[in-house]
Symmetry: D2
């Protein structure tokens, strides 16, 4: 069977990781990546020996690339002529402009969370609504926080039924290496309700959700607390059982050394993952508590890499590579080596025995 | 009527502010403060001309004070001999040791949040259980987060009835000027449920509460999000109406410039308050949202100063100065100039008109 | 003698402090302050009861002020008609535009560091070149870092002669309450040489200076290290002796509790200074070291308040109130209560005895 | 020729990287690593499939490892019986205790910067005094800042002669993933002179050095500014020429995107280096400035990985694998792929043309 040919527009924080993730899929071919200047990411691509072909978008600084000797394989249009589908990780708003080119070239596309929902036919999440994406021309992926949040809520919802969710997003304000945005000694509020709660309701319309977002001066991942009301009472043992089965949720505990968001970053680096990235969200077993009929827990969102698996799920759906959620996500997980290591930190025994107030 | 004579043990972050607050009460006399070394706070006291008399606790470095020429008015026992009640803001655990001396001297005492509940007869909050403190020998005040949290929950509870609360504490990890504790580019988890939820249930046993606490690398105040279930549905208009009437809650909005925790710190400085301190908690009108029958909102806790009013309420209760919650807190508010400016930022009109998703 | 009438343009971080500083000068009258919107600073002015009259610049949002009931005393032109001199602390670039109005109104003006040097007749520093400012129409003050840096270099230069200075500025990136600028987990470089070294040479042309500036994610003051080559060798004892005599330099030591930049901020708050501000720079006695014939030391710059005294010196010079540097700065110091407390922390004895490698 | 057998004591931040670095040397064999508990690093080793054998030091928590199924290859003594040389990256002070075991086992050892100099025969730096380490039993490596600093000073010294150096260390206070140390919104002073200047003089006794260290709340690398006085004037062109030839110095510029310390961290991740680590120090071409006869420049120190090459140099010296500095460091560089990519960012042309005040 012919491999699906994939291009990436925008070789930034997300684009680099999409390229790496696609390159790991044995049933896909990464045709190339497109950008417009010798950014640090493009310089690193060159220093690595150009493992991916580089194409230039309109308005690119080709002189600057020439002077550095960085080889260019063609224009953005050249790239569009060689692919079945584009992953668009351009800066917010540029994707909508690129869509005109995708339509002209007759290629499918998946847009990142920064674009408006109207840019696409389906607002997509690999686990929550895979089937809606099948055969579609244009998908828009959920943003990093929403992607991780929905993993956990969808997990409980499929197992036990969820009616209501109230979330608090403790948001990292910048990525490592960012200087153009930042926050110094401040927690910054956004007006409620936060868009991630609204987005959750768009993807899972049977759930009532709201939430508050607070920006914090850190770079290694968001933390979200979730208060969930189930159709019936969900105990923490029930929740743990469901979470531990989910391939893209890594259940950890503070006692094991996962003291906060930076622990996941350290662990990913120590694992030798490229860039130290983790594809899984973290879920602290010792954060799960009950209050009356409600359940509360905290998750960690690795903002740079969390959307990669669901975006690749999107390729599988849009290109009708697999026709069910189970098959599509399983194939993505297989090639990204997700969920292949389970069990070391399963805190079942100690957690069941622990008193939780 | 004779003024109640008050001493302060431990002239640190809280002790300095307790001394200032007591000195403002026209029906109290600040007899003196006790400490053990020429800390920055004691040096500043000296540079200011010793507005408060300094007493030395056992084991104090009196040589160091002598060399600097800082005058000392006597020993801790001397101080105990001159007061009716001590405010103990010693480091955690020292208060319990001091209690032996208070018992021997026959003076009342109010301990800060760092001590165990068992040190006192009553775990006290000026608004939530004033009457329980009346005439008692030993009170322990709620910690900073719990003090502010209870103000808001008690406010809704008295107005409409509250059954359940789930809180997320986004905790500032250090005070300005701290070097001995800190956190750098990390969000640090604590095991759930957090003690503030448990403490809330101790003070308000008819409410079921739980919560998760995350430490963040900032110094200018905690932010807490609260999900509340009322006995009947509490709308955001109902909530706003109640919050705006509370003297120790300052309702603000992001549009007015209160962008986050540091805005309160800036505003307190610009107001010319001593040390830039605010006694009120902040409550963002544009954080209040409904989800089904639940209500969610966010508050700001100025950790250095928030407990001062409730501690002074405690003096009034323990010394039977006022016999009702209304009279006691009103007298404290009057002398601390709390709630005398109301109305400028009341965002009633704009907020009612704003769509909240 | 008639008091000099002073206005302030721009009631922001610097403008508020200029107004407070001028209001403390018994030979000056603060006529009013000008701004354009109900910022937090203006709201605080109102909540304090309008101690200063508020005037509105062109384009101000007078409706917003009206709705809040904040009284306005007139237009910017009205203000110019009542003053002898304006202190312009508008955002960078606005001062140059305002100058046209100052010229038309025939009033003198002092611009802040954000403007270009060409806006003024003299680039001014109260201690380094007071006499050059006498009788001038337009002065521009040195920026916060340069103001503090020159205090220390001029101090050594007048005592012993300085030939060369190489500085490293460890710059705070934002003020408390800022959200529009910030830096998260990063040290950011600026191209060398940094403008403060160039500015030093402009004010003190007999000195050769260079330097490197690094932005750091903190808010409570810059730290500058200075490597100085004297005309003859300056020992650390010689340096200490000169520094301790300077009214606007506060010599401290780490052992006394001044562990870093935030200690000064804490100390200023504990002193009860308005907004917790200090006018003095800090100088760590235990940072002074020799290397061959060179001397190295570190200073603390309280960025929000450090330029206030030198700006008031500028009023005295421009308005010919005092005709010598000694008299002008002494009068400013007197009314700002600078240097009235000296001696507590003079670390002469312990420092001389300490071995310094 | 038989490979040199190497063990690593302490599988922490440095130990992991030493193990990785040794494993890349084709003329060395990594026998195993020793630790005492299932830390995150040991868990990651297990999840990776135990690429290195794990040995347990005395007092290790072998039960905890057993329960997790993490295989153990023997005791610390077992490890010592199989190696020629140990790299000791135990916590500070533990290395001195381990030395007794090394002596008993008759193995050589290299201690990290946290130990006292007296623990070793030679205080070692691969480029500055390789020959002194040849055939020695015990070496102690310079700390991370000193290692990087000496690279740059030794580079200038060998090319042109250096007489004096005054350094300002803008120190990162914690590593990514640290919670036990940290600093929040503060710059913290250390008493001068800082030990790195003293250490430089120990290694390079013909140079007079001093310096001041300031801790800053960041995690991605130190920045050091250096003021150097040459035997003759060193111009910035001369300095650039020497720096660009050094394999372990990466000359970059702000315009190329290296805006600060975090840029190197991002670049290392984008390069796909294990853990995103860089072995080279960074040196900003646009930080190099002259002041009279002095030269000033700024370097970046990647604290987690910078000492790895010089430690491996130490193995080569101590085990007499290569008998000259040139051969020893060249072999280390070859196997670590250091200096194999040169030229992309050489900013010669633009920099020569740039005016530098």
């Amino acid at each position: 069977m012919r491999k699906i040919r994939v291009g990436v527009a925008g070789y930034g924080t997300i684009g680099q990781r999409l390229a790496d993730g696609v390159a790991m899929q044995e049933d896909m071919e990464l045709v190339g990546v497109a950008d417009l200047a010798p950014t640090l990411a493009v310089r690193a691509l060159y220093e690595k020996g150009m493992p991916y072909d580089l194409y230039l978008v309109d308005g690119a600084n080709s002189d600057a690339l020439d002077q550095l000797g960085i080889p260019v394989s063609g224009t953005f249009q050249d790239l569009l002529g060689k692919v079945d589908i584009m992953l668009d990780s351009s800066p917010g708003g540029v994707g909508a402009k690129n869509k005109v080119l995708y339509e002209k070239a007759g290629v499918k596309a998946i847009f990142q969370g920064g674009e408006k929902n109207s840019v696409a036919d389906v607002f997509f999440h690999g686990y929550a609504n895979y089937e809606k994406g099948i055969g579609q021309q244009y998908l828009k992926l959920t943003s990093c926080n929403t992607t991780g949040l929905i993993r956990s809520v969808d997990c409980l919802d499929r197992a036990y039924g969820v009616e209501k969710a109230a979330i608090t997003i403790i948001r990292r304000v910048a990525d490592p290496g960012d200087y153009h945005r930042g926050l110094t000694n401040a927690l910054q509020m956004e007006k409620a309700p936060t868009h991630q709660a609204v987005d959750l309701m768009t993807i899972m319309p049977h759930i009532s959700a709201t939430g508050i977002l607070v920006h914090t001066p850190v770079t290694h991942g968001h933390i979200i607390t979730v208060v969930v009301s189930g159709k019936r009472k969900i105990t923490r043992e029930m929740a743990l059982e469901a979470f531990e089965k989910h391939p893209r949720i890594r259940v950890v505990s503070i006692d094991d050394g996962f003291a906060g968001n930076s622990s996941f970053f350290k662990y990913g680096r120590d694992l030798g993952r490229p860039r130290g990235d983790l594809y899984e969200i973290g879920l602290w077993a010792d954060s799960i508590v009950e209050s009356g009929d409600d359940l509360m827990y905290a998750i960690h969102i690795p903002q740079e890499s969390v959307t990669i698996p669901e975006t690749i799920d999107g390729i599988r759906a849009a290109c009708s590579m697999q026709l069910t959620r189970e098959e599509g996500t399983a194939m993505t997980n297989k090639y990204l080596h997700i969920g292949q290591f389970k069990g070391l930190f399963q805190p079942k025994a100690p957690v069941s025995a622990r008193k939780v107030g």
